[in-house]
Symmetry: C2
Subunit: 146 residues, 2 copies
DNA sequence: GTCAGTGCAAACGGTTTGCATGTTT
DNA sequence: AAACATGCAAACCGTTTGCACTGAC
């Protein structure tokens, strides 16, 4: 299995291989991402990084996240109106967000397959299953409405 | 068939029925939406409304769009990073945006059906096919990359 | 005449950027 | 020592809001 520690090391190694410097803020951000159970906004990442390290500025976090994205170590997605969320590259899954309570679900990639195939054959359009979240109403909120 | 003129009148009638006042800015915004071939950002709507009428402020456009959305006459969607786009309520379709050139395609609702069914049965999640756009790479941009 | 609707300007939240300073290599 | 990364503050963009005024009813 891949432990959290080794996943973090992989990320740092990748930075080294690409001649990027390993700094305290980067260590902190990577740590936060590795430890994160769910997807985090840039602001949440900043706050957690500050707990680990004190004095990590939001702009630095944005710059680090951008660097990690350029190296394909991190991806971000847009959930409806709100701030973008970031997480380490992992399985290829789609996102679905509840417009009412903002809970997010990950959906296995297969569920998008038919749609992806259809887009490819009809438009020649290659779907990125991950980048933007679909919107809807989750079971709990539908129950409340009824 | 439904002409552009009558579609605009329908919208204005709906406003009257809901005891909303019919103002010059509202007429202009409705006209812009009726005439629009594609989806427009609030800024584009503002600019076009100003051509028709001079002196329509952005904030007023936002307020009008919000009112029209409350009456289910208009919907908006988020296309990746950029500003939201608005258009009159019409057929229930999904949106797909090219991450490279930002062209937007509308996808007939059926293409989402399997995904929608799967979300409902596995999570009890009711998909809103319209609200958030999926992302990917369009045929033209893929050709360029190759 | 009343009140909803407007324009303006200021505030807002998320994100980006310029610059002087600090740190990794 | 040199290059790069950082923190800060200011700028930015899309959107929202407070307010005094205007115009639809």
């Amino acid at each position: 299995m891949t432990t959290n520690a080794s996943r973090g090391d992989e990320v740092l190694d990748s930075l080294r291989r690409h001649a990027k410097r390993i700094t305290e803020p980067k260590r902190a951000v990577v740590q936060v991402l590795v430890d994160a159970r769910d997807h985090l906004t840039a602001d949440e990442i900043t706050q957690r990084a500050q707990l680990l390290r004190g004095d990590v500025s939001p702009s630095t976090v944005y710059r680090i996240l951008e660097e990690l994205e350029d190296l394909a170590l991190v991806v971000h997605s847009h959930m409806g109106h709100a701030a973008a969320v970031y997480h380490l590259t992992g399985q290829n899954h789609g996102h679905v967000t509840c417009a009412s309570c903002h809970v997010t679900f990950e959906v296995p990639s297969d569920a998008f397959n038919r749609l992806a195939n259809e887009l490819m054959s009809s438009l020649g359009f290659e779907l990125d299953r991950h980048h933007v979240a679909l919107s809807g109403i989750c079971a709990a909120c539908r129950a409340e409405i009824d």
